[in-house]
Symmetry: D2
């Protein structure tokens, strides 16, 4: 893609924790040029470093090129020079704002939950189902007036993302899954800032994250299923019904969602754990084949050590763009069980949106 | 039981973390008198407060009555005035030492793993299966020479304990379970002292505890099953085969093991979550009926709040002698899922041994 | 004091974290009867357990006798049957509310900062300067109209409290201090709930607590100084000028403020560390002599172990009503240095207010 | 230095946590080639990844070029092709081993404490006193037989390092310091692996680190003082006597030692805090001027925000090679107080040794 002119992009929700990650990923990006910053009315008109003062919680300082950019309100008119928006908006406002940007013919890649289960929006985990972008012409056609360029592409919930990459690799190799049981141990950064009170989580585990189990149970089928009706609807894995149960917990970990997963295959005999490990190691995804800038070299890293992956040790590997798996072994109840780790602030959030845009660019959806 | 003469007891492994808990529970106990302290050869002959210096990690100081007791080696001859031993020994020595104390006709209540799966030893969770004490005459008869008084009664692994109390209540109300899937988030105190390195667990989760999953999968059937062959063998839940799968994780929590559990009943239709909650709240155990000193008033506390139980908030309730349950709800894959919490250093360790001894006393096994 | 009729009291700010502690201390109190609960307008009219839902963060459930008490607005008229108010109010409202309760002739014992440096209000650490209650008649006389019963008695900032008890014991034994340097490591509970974001404090230290250093530097002189002008003004330690420097840090600890302190005495030669230790151990305070219900048996516990006191191990000792000290040793720059620990939610907050009221009762200020 | 042949180096103590950091810094180093790995007899003869199995605790995997290197015993004969040794040895063996490597004419750069206060060994913090290398000819001359190449250069204790860089900048600008008081909050990684038990530090602070205060108090004068007697002895800051008092605490932080420091200058009036801040920002060190590969771009980063530096947010800045300072302000007792942060595993350990070697190379001491 070198030599091409960069696409001008705006980050919506630029002062939030996801917005901050977008900014760090877009500085010096080969395809995108960070040209706008959108935030709430309270921040509009201020310099970025003033607007974000006291809330910049990254291990790297604010990039010099961004410090003195002016923040604007999240309305399309403020960013008429941009063609693409990355949204790290809170769900309380994302619905309306993203809709307005789409209507203004901008390509919106969103980390918000609002349009994930929308029947016109692909729910894309970049290592899993970029093929779902094929529904975008239909999304555009359904708008009134019909849109030439604009669309909304949400990425999945952070905890879903970490698991479906592994499930996809298993389905590719061994056919459809029939049952998935998963229990998560999720990092505090998943709740944003200020998010989880320290009094709630220090020396503690909270066995509940509002709506999280429902999201995981619903999103999994949409992501792993195909398209149907000439790419105008989602098949939702209904051809091969899949039962999914999730239990979600908050643990005192900064970054990195861990999941304990057990699965059962439709086709029996099920693969051995050795066969499963080999399939996971061999899994390559379209983002890699397309040469996307932010794609991991290895989509799934399988650990041999019995006590890995661990959030603190493995979350930064490949800049958090891949998934780590360990303890692949026989399950006495279902077929195979394993542990998976995703960096929730990278592949589980900003990296997914950016990768989705990189894929869309390479597949011609941004023109 | 008031008015009775107290039974003299020795704590084996008295300088370890479980031994320290035994000491705190036995000071001022109405049935037992702490009369001896056993520890390694390195500690023998020293005053307790000297032997334990730098390793006493309790929120309460060493009891005054214990500070200056002399520690002895773990041989029965050192404690000839005692009739009963509580063992907090490390498994590397517990096998031999406990066997010697039994041979010396002492009643051994042990927290070590060595005899848990022994075909002659009852594996007793005091809120679940004190009926298994009925195998003790057979255990004594099998010794050579036959023993009049001595026996070994191990209690279960701490993480097993927290779950089987709930499973027992469900089986009592709704018949045998067919499938149990459980994932634990276990406290660092479960690994003793110094145990888990802070570099391994701060801002981290370790998705592996050596041998723990195997213990949970094996112990569950023994505890929930009955006796057979005239109380000379364990039925192991084999009449109603039960599949059990466990995934165990270490989390940065001081005390309190949390488990996410899903179960399927043999008898269908399965109970609703409301029926299950009612059954758990109504569950009472033999330890309560016998009026045991250390028994909880409520065996199972069911929380209404969606985010409970939590280790830090709920582990001290009833001095850690009961089990807390929350989030009882329908499982999309099996029948019912829930979260349970056990205080691993109390009911999951010392409290179980002490309660087992209190039960044995009341049921006449200590004479 | 047994046999006396209990004084009816109201807790203001009853749903906050300090208010919750007041409630736990006042249930079954021999001198006080919890007769009213005051909170914000949003809570007024609701049952306590409803008003506090999701915010009760204690290891003990809400006391049965309090669950269904009705919460009222913080106006004196709501609590006309009460003679005394314990205030756990936020400083944003405490100034006005406490003033109104005083004007209504109620005795207000407050944990808020608003009146701490007021020239008419004694700033009382119950183990240090109950003699300052002598200014209360003057406070009442200055009100317009002159008050018969009402007054405000604030207790000190939690971190100040932990240090001044030790400084008082040293001054009592060795004369005035000339220099005090202190660096604190303060628990998250000091910031209330939700208070400190977990993203700010997990795997971290924040070397700043707004206004805290100023409070410590100002309060120390007022507390340790005497009264002057016939008990109508504070001497502020100005007869023996004392330089105080504080550096305050927030650390990932639930409860318990630790301070590293170095001091220099006016009178030289300064005491040896052994002499200082002896003086600390021998220190007894008026609250003990008066037989106050909540007074610790030992005001200052001096540890011999080189690595104590530690927040997690020592904060619960004596129900958090005393101060723990360790590492008393020579300072190469000043005279003596040491480490002190105070339970910030007990003696550092609710326990101080309650003890101040117990003292005031015994000294006749509540009539 | 490009174009020069790389110097072959060995890492001693290669399986420990400091050794692991040396390895990561030396892979692809422009001046040094990692040619040998030394460890205990138990590891000798094994491949590195086998020898370090279960103890590699870095966020990056073992470098591919190192995985299959063979580990040897820590005797000079095993590494005859190497000219330079980086020592991450434990102090229990470092004394003997480093002495043997020096006697074999190898240049030893050590993180161990053994030779820090040796009257022949410079104690070098690379951002502070590389001029002390001038004593090396004297060190070599005092050996028997006189050495042509071999020497030992220790770097300072991690907590000392973080403070003396700031003190050096202040002395350079405003003349000698008379008094230094410092209290540290030190990360668990400073104690190695397994090091601090999680039961000791979770929800806790330990106000004691064995020998640490003594090290800080002694090392400061040696580092900040000059050389005397024609570069054959250390002046120890005795020309301008300096009183130093340190209080050291262990906090639940992975990496990064924070210190609260107050200082008094000999020359009065002392600088204002603004003058001090300016001096710190302008400070440049010889390592920077020499163009050392591992030198930070900014030796001291002064933060404007009132709540910085913080270990988690600031320790990775400049790859941990600089020092962060904040809260520079007037001290009511001494002159100026501030907070400083050093990455104890980088500049506080391996980075110091590597930088010291880079400086020695550029100043001609490695030939």
């Amino acid at each position: 893609m070198s030599g091409q002119k960069k696409i001008k992009v705006v980050v919506l929700g630029a002062t939030g924790t996801v917005g901050q990650r977008f900014i760090l990923q877009l500085v010096d990006h080969p395809n995108f040029e960070l040209a706008g910053l959108g935030a709430s009315a309270a921040s509009a008109g201020r310099l970025y470093h003033e607007a974000v003062a006291g809330r910049w919680k990254q291990a790297h300082p604010i990039p010099e090129s961004v410090r003195n950019m002016t923040v604007n309100s999240c309305i399309p008119e403020s960013f008429s020079s941009c063609d693409l928006a990355f949204s790290g908006l809170d769900s309380s406002v994302a619905g309306t704002v993203e809709c307005a940007f789409r209507a203004a013919n901008m390509c919106v890649f969103s980390n918000a939950k609002n349009y994930r289960m929308d029947p016109l929006c692909p729910l894309i985990v970049p290592l899993v189902n970029p093929s779902h972008l094929a529904i975008l012409p239909h999304q555009q056609a359904c708008m009134s007036p019909r849109l030439e360029h604009g669309f909304i592409v949400p990425n999945a919930n952070c905890s879903t993302t970490g698991v479906v990459v592994v499930l996809k690799a298993l389905e590719d190799a061994f056919g459809p899954l029939e049952t998935v049981m998963m229990q998560t141990m999720q990092a505090i950064s998943g709740a944003g800032y200020p998010g989880v009170s320290s009094l709630d989580i220090l020396d503690n585990v909270v066995p509940y994250i509002r709506d999280e189990e429902e999201k995981m149970e619903a999103e999994t089928g949409k992501i792993l299923g195909g398209l149907k009706n000439n790419d105008t609807a989602f098949e939702m894995h209904e051809t091969n019904p899949m039962k999914v149960s999730a239990q979600c917990n908050r643990v005192p970990v900064i970054d990195g969602h861990l999941a304990c997963v057990s699965v059962k295959f439709k086709n029996q005999p099920a693969p051995s754990s050795d066969q499963a490990i080999k399939a996971l190691r061999n899994f390559t995804c379209e983002a890699q084949k397309l040469g996307c800038h932010s794609a991991p070299k290895q989509a799934i890293t399988v650990h041999d050590e019995p006590d890995r992956p661990q959030p603190r040790l493995d979350r930064e590997w490949q800049n958090g763009a891949g998934v780590s798996v360990g303890r692949v072994r026989k399950c006495p109840v279902l077929d195979i069980k394993f542990v998976s780790l995703v960096n929730n602030v990278m592949l589980g959030a900003a990296t997914s949106s950016v990768l989705n845009a990189e894929i869309a660019l390479r597949k011609g959806y941004l023109q």
